[in-house]
Amino acid sequence: MHAIDDIDYGTPRKVSDTMVTLQVDGSAVTVPAGSSILYAAQAAGRRIPKLCATDSLEAFGSCRLCLVEIQGRRGYPASCTTPVEEGMRVRTQTPRLADLRRGIMELYISDHPLDCLTCPANGHCELQDMAGAVGLREVRYGYDGANHLEVPKDESNPYFTFDPSKCIVCSRCVRACAEVQGTFALTIDGRGFASKVSPGQRESFMDSECVSCGACVQACPTATLMENSVYQMGQPDRAVVTTCAYCGVGCSFKAEVKGDQVVRMVPNKDGHANHGHSCVKGRFAFGYTTHPDRILKPMLRKSIDEPWKEVSWNDAIGYVAGEFKRIQAGHGSDSIGAITSSRCTNEETFLVQKLVRAAFGNNNVDTCARVCHSPTGYGLKTTLGTSAGTQAFDSVEKAGVIVVIGASPTDGHPVFASRMKRRLREGAKLIVVDPRAIDLVRTPPGIEAACHLQLQPGTNVALINSLAHVVVTEGLANEAFALERCEPADYQKWKAFVSQQTYAPEQVEQVTGVPAAQIRQAARLYATGGNAAIYYGLGVTEHSQGSTMVIGMANLAMVTGNLGREGVGVNPLRGQNNVQGACDMGSFPHELSGYRHISDAGVRGLFEKEWNVTLNPEPGLRIPNMFDAALDGSFKAIYIQGEDFAQSDPNTQHVESALRAMECVVVQDLFLNETAKFAHVFLPGSTFLEKDGTFTNAERRIQRVRKVMPPMAGLADWEITMAIANAMGYSMHYDHPSEIMDEIARLTPTLRGVSFEKLDRLGSIQWPCNDNAPEGTPTMHVGQFVRGKGKFTMTEYVATEERTSRKYPLILTTGRILSQYNVGAQTRRTGNVAWHQEDVLEIHAHDAEQRGIADDAKVSVASRAGNVVLTARISDRIQPGVVYTTFHHPVSGTNVITTDNSDWATNCPEYKVTAVEVSPVARHSEWQRQHRDFTARQQALLKERETIEA
């Protein structure tokens, strides 16, 4: 069912330069050409009864309830399928129409259970509303005829129930699955009276091709498809517009609430990133917010071998401040630092880096972007001048060629993937660069990549250089663009560089394993297929040459002129809800908000004046440097806001030793995560439902996060940071996060025009937003690059040091899955475990057979760094020589095997290339056994904690 406060226009809003004026029941209304009469009537405030129409779907014309009379035309056309015409005179309510509509409703109701009072849709049911609207008073056919009332429910999905007895076969669910989600998992089985909605081949939702996005549930006008939470809690009573806290798509939602409890999340039709769609995580997986595992009181302990002790907020904050000051006094001001969280709001992130720079007096602040998209920041800043993607998501609708490199949008960014799929089905061509056959390589119905360059992990740069080689040497370059928009000397130098024979496809084939002809075909398609847009993920960045590859992609876009307008660009698919924002806010040790280097005295001066401190002009430690410094004794304490690097960062044993070496580890989080097991202080954080603020998505779009319920532990994350600063003697005072945003805007030229008031008014803003662009900037680099002239930069391919050998003959690469989110701290505590209970190792049949490995067998995966045991799954998505896994479950210990190799420029870890050997085993690895014991001990220490009254 649509959101409780939505107006349904019946058919989608059309965009046209031509406006059409018509009369509806005597009132003039003007709408864009191509609109339906139903839409126009709603726009004029006239409600025409309807059932099969809803404005997220194209008109279908099956229910016949929205019939109207049009002057000068015979009959009673359906207003949903009839487009408006100039001067048309429409009547929506006449005695004849009333008769027809009542007759239709009689037929519907003759085969519908009359259990309205106990139905979960009671109070918010379109069928019930229509019965009311048409004045249904009797059903002349009676209720004894053939019917569907005994069809059993399908309760296989953890989040919604399918009750076919209530189905009116309007096909809205089937159409939503096709048009909105693009999965086509539903169909109408049979015909005539026997028609019924069928997932897959007359099977349950869970057994079908359904991805549980919930678009069908949202489209259903009755209780046929209904959230289980509504079954349990009844109808919500208010809606709060907020932003999803999962991936970087940044879907806008209406959190529908009863009291301070969320009943359901409904994607916001007016959301500029998602236009009313969502995935299984955003819509359904919010149960973690009230999960009993949440820790709701601050806790302390002197050593990680002691039980925890609950304390008051005052005592906890006082202890943290005391320890930080003591350690700084003994070991120097550089001996402590902090991590900002990409899951927290911009305002919270900004405060943590302010705490470090102003109260700690150093620049030891970093963020989890370090381990994901830091190379994006470096590469795009170097070449184009700004550390962000170039386009809005809407831009994909104008792309002729879509290039997906090192990303699996249907898993990681499903809502954007749906839009991408729609564009591909409209005829855009697809190039996939990935060692693994991601879904998009071939997705029913009809999507098939024009080229899948299935390269060896770690050879991205060789490949991108080769694509550039073909463009340059085959005369496909857009010379006019390159010479006018970019530094000409650098361009000439770069051209000579990529033209070298080393980067000819025939040579690069030896390195990447991609046939030369395919490389040439892809390069030609990219350069000549019209607007070409690159979308990429961590398969680009998480390499020893991550930054080089980002530069390489920008070079390729510049040489073909694919920048500075809609339909083109270089676009990172950001993993976390606010990883863009965390970077924008100055979370990196070397730069202040808006990507300005800490060594710039002018910029520092602005902050020094506002903050009333002197800032350290030298960059601080990055996350991996912090671990190294902890092990050598020069880094002793850390404040970690919402990050779990004991699970997420590579070479787990190294991270664990570093955490053990510190004197004061402060973790602010929702759960006792892997890192918190090494902590001395636990500060209970708040979820996105418990505070106000903003998130910035992958398209630089700033959107509001709004408080739905008070913080369960008493304080929002920004309030905790503020308390620590004040306790350390640095005064911070904000009454509301909007005041923090005002400070950010004062200090950051690219965000100067941003305020909560403007966000509330416009819905969202894409930065830069300032006097030049008061309502924001959807497309970057129009006319000229942010850095002035684009900078072509040479990108020599350097093979990673992580090589296969006789002992480690396979390459392990890692990725994500749709139902789980990153380390899984949230999604593992929701119904999403129904889809993914453990991480598995995908292995090619050839490699499996050589090693005597059967499907579902336990296997040891050993690298130079460590070994773990996983379940093998034989898969043809990968080539022989490559194996693949995910890292959503701590017990998998995927990062026990990843190495500490990293990107040369940013130290982003090389998660995507680890040489391993796989062999059959019977039991868990030593690390996994230790991890199990350690976890059990830490859980016991939590259970034994000394408690205090609230």
């Binding site: 999965t183 086509f184 998992a185 539903l186 169909t187 109408i188 089985d189 049979g190 015909r191 069928s198 997932p199 897959g200 081949q201 007359r202 079908s208 091709e209 071939r442 997705t443 029913p444 119905p445 009809g446 999507i447 098939e448």
Partner: protein, 157 residues
Amino acid sequence: MPIESGEAIARIAKALKHKPGALLPILQEIQEQLGHIPSEAVPIVASELNLTRAEVHGVVSFYHDFRSEPPGRHVIRICQAESCQAMGSAVLTAFAKTHLGIDFHETTADAAFSLEPVYCLGNCACSPAMAVGKEVYGRMTPQRFQEVLQEVAGKSE
């Protein structure tokens, strides 16, 4: 489903997939060769044409002529269209169902007969009409129905 059937389905799908609107010809050919379209054929055809299983299933279940179960040795189709209805096909149909002990779209336990409705056999002048296999019979009565059944059963032995 026997392995050979799976192989035959894959072969048919591969051979016909390049025809425009290939789904219907493929389904028709499968039914021609196997006598019906087993549910196991759906994923094979779907994968070959890059369609979802739901889409293929929707088409198979939409057309009455596609059967998901193997038919009986003889398929009896009784006309339900206007002319035949006017001449008593309802009575004939009721008798046929009782006599055979099955409903429409079902097959007798001995796999001898399947019963299907049909909408016009082009034999309106001789309503009510029915067909057994490709043979059409007119002016049907319950009595005639039993005779025809005996006749075809005798022929097939």
